[in-house]
């Protein structure tokens, strides 16, 4: 944990949509700058809603939420969002998709083209720049989607199950690469996933939510000695951590049932 003030701060945050059931109930959570926090929990526990609150795509019902010390709607400039689907615009090439956030910001054509080229290089897709999304595989689309998010040079990257639709091998590769990209373009990450293994591999901390209503059921720090490479998945301490988080998750599910 860092001594710096939290970059995302939930204080007794409750969320419900209209007269519907409470989705998140009195959630209190601090995320320090530089953390990689995975949010895991059963379906309907409000994981995605939590991200949408941070992105100011939905307002909190009660409580206080601060992003970079400000109300979420005023902190969007430092945010980027990656959805479960790549949400690439099908009529734009990979390069043009990566450029999009810069285009919306009014950055000139030459500067944004150059930046898009760099980012496509970072995600190892430089050759795919002129291709349209339908010409890309699922994994390639997600790389472009992440490159697009990184073009904003975000302080906080919100990822909503970005690799859920991919096969396991692609998913593992992208997990490793995501950590690599983070080394080159540091950001605080809030990562929603259903996969305990993925959460353990990526995170510095895992927040386990229980469902109906969504609330924090566990907060597990994750630290491993050395770099996190593919070999980490073969180490005993990795398995132990997966088992520990799984236990917390099962307890949360049992408590909610």
């Amino acid at each position: 944990m860092s001594d710096q003030p939290p970059i995302v701060q939930f204080r007794d945050v409750t969320k419900r949509f209209g007269d519907g059931p409470v989705v998140l109930n009195r959630l209190t959570l601090d995320v320090a700058p530089g953390e990689f926090v995975s949010v895991i929990g059963p379906s309907g526990c409000g994981k995605s809603t939590l991200l949408r609150l941070v992105a100011a795509l939905s307002p909190v019902t009660a409580g206080a939420l601060a992003v970079a010390g400000r109300p979420p709607a005023e902190a969007r400039e430092g945010l980027a969002f990656v959805f479960q689907e790549a949400t690439l615009l099908p009529w734009l090439t990979a390069t043009e998709n990566v450029e999009l956030p810069l285009r919306l910001r009014g950055v000139g054509a030459a500067a944004r083209r150059a930046r898009a080229g760099e980012l496509l290089g970072l995600v190892r897709l430089r050759e795919a720049g002129p291709l349209y999304p339908r010409q890309l595989s699922g994994g390639m689309k997600m790389r472009v989607s992440i490159a697009r998010a990184l073009s904003r040079e975000p302080r906080i990257l919100l990822l909503d199950e970005p690799f859920a639709a991919l096969d396991e091998m692609t998913r593992n590769h992208l997990n490793e690469e995501l950590l690599g990209w983070r080394g080159k373009a540091p950001f605080t990450a809030l990562f929603v996933t259903h996969s305990v293994a993925e959460a353990v591999f990526l995170s510095t901390r895992i927040v386990v939510l229980a469902a109906r209503p969504g609330r924090i059921a566990g907060d597990v720090p994750v630290a491993f000695a050395g770099d996190r490479t593919a070999r980490l998945r073969e180490r005993p301490e990795y398995f132990e951590k997966v088992a520990e988080v799984s236990r917390v998750l099962h307890a949360a599910e049992a408590g909610a049932a």
Partner: protein
Amino acid sequence: MKRRDLIVWLLPALSGAVGIAIWYLVRAGTGLQSWILPTPAEVMGAAWAERATLLRAAGATALGALGGFLAASGAGLGIALALGWARWLRAGLYPWLLVLQMTPVIVLAPIIVLWAGPGLPGIITVTFLISFFPIVVNTTQGLLAAEANMADLFRLYGATRWQDLRLLRLPVAAPYFLAGLRIAATLAPIGAIFGEYLVGNAAGGSGGLGFLVYVYNTQIKIPALFATALISCLLGFVFVAAVAWLSWAVLHRWHDSYERHD
């Protein structure tokens, strides 16, 4: 010849040949006279004999259909943009568009002649009224069809309303607009011919195919009437082909409907 080519070319040719054979059989079997049911050969003969008149009329009809089609495309897009822009505009205007669409154009014809005048302006107005509705409906639906996550992305990344329209909603609406144009392209020549039939015979003899229908009918030139139907059909194909080409030009690089699976 590949199996696919066989299906695309040979089967329609075969069914057409069967249709013509049945046509001849019905004529021979019933003993109907040529002024009631001409043979295909008599229709082609009439088309050749009347070729100058038919071509001139087809040109006039094409002009009216094109004028009405372009007006419908422009106005249709404009109305759809207004409807897609704000919910209150949609709620306020849509019922009246339905009222206009539900009113048979034949009832409006005398009013159209009174307001737009006989001849080309009246024909364009009739064509417009018949063909603009599918463009409005399709395009409005397209403007509202952006995926929620994409719309969220634009919101999150601070897109202005204009950027949202230009970079997201208009491209999403493009296939819908083109589908509307395709329907309008089949309706426009029909609208023009109908318009000529209704209001064009007051145009001093310069009427198009619709006027020829009126003339040939009164002269009981039934083979020529069949030939007029044939030319009308060809004109419709030209319109549809033009829109199909436009769709291809706009969409083929990125839209799934142009994805090849071979």
